[in-house]
Symmetry: none
DNA sequence: GATGAATGAGGTTTCATTCAT
DNA sequence: TATGAATGAAACCTCATTCAT
């Protein structure tokens, strides 16, 4: 009913977008509210009209990033077809977003560090990991049920799979010239699939 | 007359040790030099007698951590016996150090974040990852040569293995109550071994 | 609507004024930014909104002082009349400002010391001395052209005159009770005039 | 009677010498006790065995410099001959020491600034100026008595002369390439002599 | 006499945050 | 809604000085 509830929402988005870029480039602590305001083309004080403080801004970014990430996995999960195909679709979507994912990695690691020290942040990350694990588990369970995979502890397998994916990202961002993400991910997953496979 | 050139060296160690704990607890930026001095039981200014500045302190910690980590892998690498056994020895040493490793994880992630923004830090991490990969590759290659593993791209396999290990750490630190590291790591590695195995 | 672009300019002036007094009283290095802020009745951090740092503050003061000083000489230079009268007007203006000039002497000497060590400062002082010399030279040349003074090297005479003036200030500030500036300056100038005069 | 009272004295001299160079190069406040110790090739703490503190060090330097300077003037004063010749001898000795005097100028100006703020320093400088003035006055009075100079206020003349000399130094140090000290000083003095001369 | 080690005190500068307009 | 101006709090680092050896 309100005429334009989106004006405020758009400003918030604009700020979060600018902040994401600035935080990625400088780090949460080094980046200043002024840096962010400049990047957003607004005044420093204006940020406080939309976000309580720097911490809230960081949290807002986290939520947005995790939501995006989850959406991708959820989409793969909802796909019809074989488990291996759905999982492959997931990691291919990861690779497809390469240009967007890479610059966000510093934020991701910083979050991981932050989460080990501040409980509110920890809760957000734990929840995220839990959901990712759950979706992967569900897909794997489908694979087991369909006979694609040998019977196994689906949740452990899900964690192993996610571990492989996120660990591969680390190698990728630190050796982008040597590591061909596509090939490396494909290789890792194939290994896992073979490990999980229903051998004759 | 007593051979005591280590007074200085011991102080440096003392400071680094205190700083490691403080940085782990608060983060590089939030932790202050005074926090560290207090933790070491010395005066703030004394730190500067042994380390040029906060950055140098951070660097010193990084080097020490990476060196320790590498030493563990190197030891496993130098072990006699089958590749699978040597790899297993490695991850078991990781688990054995649990009490020490866990509190250092925030530092590790913070480094990963830092390294993506500052080239000097990046170089240190890249080098570390490269050495880890190299050692794992060497073990895997031995496994291939001995017929334990099917012929494969040993370097890619090494990266996949390290990815699995470090990714599992992430799950562990964020769900320590649900995740049994030992079991989870064992499970992941078994999967990989089966994937790599020379099937009849 | 009111034309008030000078809010910022006035604050800057306010700060410079306070800083001038504090620097004169304590010296560039001993005076703290807090001293200056207190003297200006503002917060320490506010200074940095208007001047980049302590150095910039010092520079701003130098420029202002030299500009004022030059303005006085320029005014005397632009006067009509005989050279001796114009020069006399100059030193009289110096004496008239006694109350303002005296407390600034420490700053002047400090600048002279600083200028011998830092090239950017040196440039400012060199330029100042050069302009003073130039204006005095111009007046003296007029005196030569009009037959008031005997033909001579006007630039050297100008330097000698300025040397006498500034050297007299030194005696004055260090023996204010014994030295009657007015009489002393008048005496010195008369000596010079007689030395320069066109004797029959 | 003491075997070697000069060991201590020599160390003190060594320190003062080093400090003079360091202070001249960096300024009283910026130069650190460690800078000085390094320049003297000794330990920082050793300085305190010979000089109470930084202030005492600065004072010691002042005293030494002023004593040297006075000695030069005293020597000229004690010369036989005409007043103009004795005065000329003085400024020639100044010029002869050029290589030594020039690097000390920053210290001199810094002292002048310091003296206007700290009474103990002021006393030293006032005394110095007073003695210089007294010696010059004595020479000039001799010139008057001998008929070389016209009757005049010898003390005022002395101040004017010293003002000219020290003011010329300022021009010299700030325009060393344009100003030929020798010529400039000679010129200034000639002007004064003519002004003082007993015209027919 | 000489010094390596230590520290208390303090200065410059930065920044998240607030508020009047 | 938006912002220019202001500030309290704090962090890094330096240095004169002391003292045990």
């Amino acid at each position: 009913m309100t005429p334009r509830p989106n004006v405020s929402e758009m400003r918030t988005r604009q700020i979060i977008e600018a902040a994401t870029a600035v935080f990625a480039a400088k780090g949460f602590d080094v980046a200043t509210m002024e840096d962010i305001a400049d990047a957003a083309g607004i005044n420093k004080a204006t940020i406080y009209l939309y976000l309580k403080n720097k911490d809230a801004l960081i949290r807002a970014i986290a939520e947005q990033l995790f939501a995006q990430e989850l959406a991708g996995l959820q989409a793969a999960h909802d796909l019809p077809g074989a488990a291996t195909e759905r999982l492959t679709a997931y990691y291919e979507s990861l690779i497809a977003d390469e240009a967007e994912v890479l610059p966000l990695m510093p934020i991701f690691y910083e979050f991981c560090a932050l989460g080990l020290r501040r409980d509110e942040v920890r809760a957000v990350i734990s929840e995220f990991i839990d959901q990712v694990t759950g979706l992967l588990e569900s897909i794997i369970q489908d694979g087991i049920d369909s006979g694609e995979f040998a019977p196994t502890e689906a949740r452990q397998a899900a964690r192993a799979l996610d571990a492989l994916l996120s660990g591969t990202l680390l190698h990728w961002v630190y050796a982008p010239e040597e590591v061909d993400v596509d090939a490396q991910l494909r290789y890792g997953i194939r290994l896992m699939f073979r490990g999980l496979a229903n051998h004759p």
